[in-house]
Symmetry: C2
Subunit: 345 residues, 2 copies
Amino acid sequence: MSNKLGIKELAQHLDISIASVSRALHNPNRVSKDMRERVQAAAKELGYKQNTLASSLRTAKTRNIVAIIPDLSDTFNAGVIRSMEDAAAKRGYSILFGDSQGEREREIRYGELIQGKRADGVIFFSSTPPFPEETLQSDNFTVPPMVNSCEVMIDSGYKIKGQSIPYVTINNIEASKEITEHLIQQGHKRIAVITGDPSTPSVKQRLQGHIEAQQMAGIEHSSSLVFEGDYTIESGQKLAHDILKLKHRPTAIFCMCDESAIGCMHTLKENGVRVPQDIAVAGFDDIRFAQFSTPTLTTIAQPVEEIGRRCSELLIDIIENKSIKEKRVVLPHKLVIRESTRIPN
Amino acid sequence: MSNKLGIKELAQHLDISIASVSRALHNPNRVSKDMRERVQAAAKELGYKQNTLASSLRTAKTRNIVAIIPDLSDTFNAGVIRSMEDAAAKRGYSILFGDSQGEREREIRYGELIQGKRADGVIFFSSTPPFPEETLQSDNFTVPPMVNSCEVMIDSGYKIKGQSIPYVTINNIEASKEITEHLIQQGHKRIAVITGDPSTPSVKQRLQGHIEAQQMAGIEHSSSLVFEGDYTIESGQKLAHDILKLKHRPTAIFCMCDESAIGCMHTLKENGVRVPQDIAVAGFDDIRFAQFSTPTLTTIAQPVEEIGRRCSELLIDIIENKSIKEKRVVLPHKLVIRESTRIPN
DNA sequence: ATATATTCGGTAAACGTTTTCCATGGAATA
DNA sequence: TATTCCATGGAAAACGTTTACCGAATATAT
């Protein structure tokens, strides 16, 4: 028992052709009612499972999407992922998540799922498509369905062979401007900033917004108050130490992600610095721990649920050649003011 | 230009047989040096990409593993994932992560990647294999390579057709006993507990350990101090409120996961209850935020890195029919004592 | 020198599907 | 009754690989 059970065996067992089996299962009204029922019953009873490899090979469709995430354990990404999966499932697609850990090599390995025809499209969260340069250049490279998110060059959009890649993002410049303005409104004139990798679009954009807000308020921006981190708790801690060492301390710190803000606040408190009375702290992302930190964290809420959903929908529309309204989706963010920047009266 | 480019076209272009192309690329010493080099050069130049669908169909190997995670955004799971991916990559496998959101239906959908031959094995974090009951029963069902983790019935282990499923886990009973003992040592006699879904192995085991520790200390365990949560921050908050309403308040709360502990502490503080002076709080998992909460959280550290790694290694050993030393891996945990249970003197 | 082993490349059969094309028979139409 | 049409099911080609098998050529041993 328990031998191979393919469409062939099923057909033999029913004494019909494999064509009929295939039709009864996947093209039911191409076949008589009687046949349909007999086959489906037998399939269920014997536990026939379609070999989707063979099926995909034949049809050139997989109903799989690969999503390449720089860090699955990042609390912000994690939020996006859920709704992405959800939306895809509703349309009959499965999402395969790949954790690239920010490494190009890994991105490319997951990108190969596309080239190897194991997935119909790809969503990527880094600023470059998950294919080697040489591949992108190659004449024989046809641009697969893809959607870029989170790390997006809004202005230009990423282009391959003149084709610009659809994206889903928020307006980082505006968001950053808003939160900086909020700090300025609170009376801060000397604002330090803890960044992530400065070569990434998100950091560039957030920095730009931060600087613009200061200029508009007539505050001179000092690059000596820019501290380069990497979006982790630890870098928040470490750089907070550096900031505390400054002769002329800032009165506020804008961290470009919540995790850094949490690390930062922790170090400040450890050193007896009160937040927000002595130094105010703002974050970015509104991860779910932001409202449970002490003090609760002022931050920019990204519409995580919507980001994920729109990524999936956009990509699937492209895969299925639906007419696409917007290839460039910019979603609204929201400034959330909490205790870490609001001096209690 | 940019037409189909398969092995066939490549062979044509070089005026050799497709067999030679295949060999030159994947079985290099089955072919002369000259041939090898010519083919590889051409492949690179023209940008040939193997259709892995076809390859897998032929060889019945995919070098893919699917890992089904109940919630990718859970901070604890997230830690495991990374090392899992890492270890797999070292052995030449890619891991496809599926987020089941705890839904059976979704688990099964990802399980189908196995049955559809798109993956060679599966790692699952829930207590039941990702296949429908009827499938498991079916005569024609052959048990695929799988490894169970995190939600494991240690005693029996899960069995399919007499075959017991390999697992990787910690000893939840012991861990829970230890942390409860710690609370008892701190002088607590009335300890509330905030659980997760009580039907899961982890909760059952942690509850068992919790009760045993009390019995050993001669404390009577009161089921009225058991509060059923769901491993989220929110349930921690909510149940903390319930606990505060008790006429006879406990002096300590053991939360079966850190996220709940964080929610719990937040509510306590909101209500002017000092942690740990008025009520001590302990968690479980040692997520990375545990040491940044205020107060920092006493908890059980699970060896996340090792859990992930061992899952991958064990599964791949099974896939590749390596001789397997241990089919049941129980890893060491560690009690981490922090401020939330240590009364400052 | 011959006999034997080894290396190398091609032919064609598989892997498990889906789908085009065709043949058949019965129902519908004229 | 003769003709057309449609519903149904089978045969076989195709999807893009890998690999068993063969035969030719070359190297090695006697």
